[in-house]
């Protein structure tokens, strides 16, 4: 199987409102974004991918990690992360979006993501 993974800066994802990456997903490419998407962005991704569902493209598997919400962090560290995130304009973390035909499941574990193909 030819596996393709595309690393995308969050800024590019946001600028293009995800649309330019839909073709990648339809061509079985897994997308890796260097931030945790907001809930609204996740809903937007689901909406946009649903529009493209066909016999060949059946939708996506999506999951993300949020670094600033890790349970082991102290309150001070959480506050520090909040300030940093306000400054950089994104939630620190990782999001994986994979075509459902390629990625069977993405499990959160809870500070790691596991891809089942």
């Amino acid at each position: 199987m030819n596996l393709k993974i595309k690393f995308i800066p969050y800024e590019k994802f946001k600028r293009n409102k995800f649309r330019i990456f839909l073709k990648d997903l339809q061509e079985s490419t897994i997308l890796l974004i260097d931030a945790k998407l907001t809930a609204e962005e996740e809903a937007h991704v689901i909406k946009e991918t649903m529009r493209k569902v066909s016999g060949l493209f059946t939708g996506i598997e999506l999951n993300s990690l949020e670094l600033s919400n890790a349970k082991k962090l102290s309150n001070f560290e959480k506050l520090k992360n909040m300030v940093i995130e306000k400054l950089i304009g994104k939630k620190r973390g990782l999001t994986i979006i994979g075509p459902a035909k390629t990625v069977r499941q993405i499990k959160k574990n809870p500070e790691e993501l596991l891809l089942y193909m």
């Binding site: 809930a39 689901i46 569902v53 059946t58 939708g59 999506l62």
Partner: protein, 210 residues
Amino acid sequence: MILNGLRRSLSSLIGAIFRKKKDVRIGLYGPVNSGKTTLANKICMDWIGEQLGKVSIIPHETREIQTKESVTIKDNGKSLTFNLVDTPGIATKIDFENFMKYGLKRRHAKQRAKEATRGVIEAIKWLDRMDLVLVVLDSCVDPLNQVNITILGNLDARNIPFIIIANKVDLKKSKASRIRGAFPNYKTVGISAKTGFNIEELYSSVIETL
């Protein structure tokens, strides 16, 4: 967390002031086959004596938004009238071949998949129109999946009040405590929409929340 709580209280206070001027809309949201339409039917049967939609074991039976207007529920001398909105199940993937496993012909399965994708889009679009959302989850299934997290995250971000319904508690495999454990900051009511178990608690929570 505190800010979110304040924001929620403020928005429900503002909602309470202006509510009388418009219809209250309560939406049923959740993943596929969690029992949204069964609950909608139970509520409608209890208070207006008629059903809202068709229920099936084949996923994505509800593929369009269905509304029942002017449903009045009562609890402890208080009452609430609202429009009940049953929405298609939210999913991130829809494969027509899955429908064929339930005996649907290829053409019908493809059509069902097409309608189901439109249903998901519509359900997401309708979120902002809701005054209260009942997030219906199947208590036999692990609640920590992306669809549930996305639904709850969106309700939180949009300041829409919601109650989590741990449905199907009549089944042996049910673990409502798993849902409470996964989302400890949110109000959860365990019910069986099919048998009506604990439905009174849901009615009282709805009146209390709005």
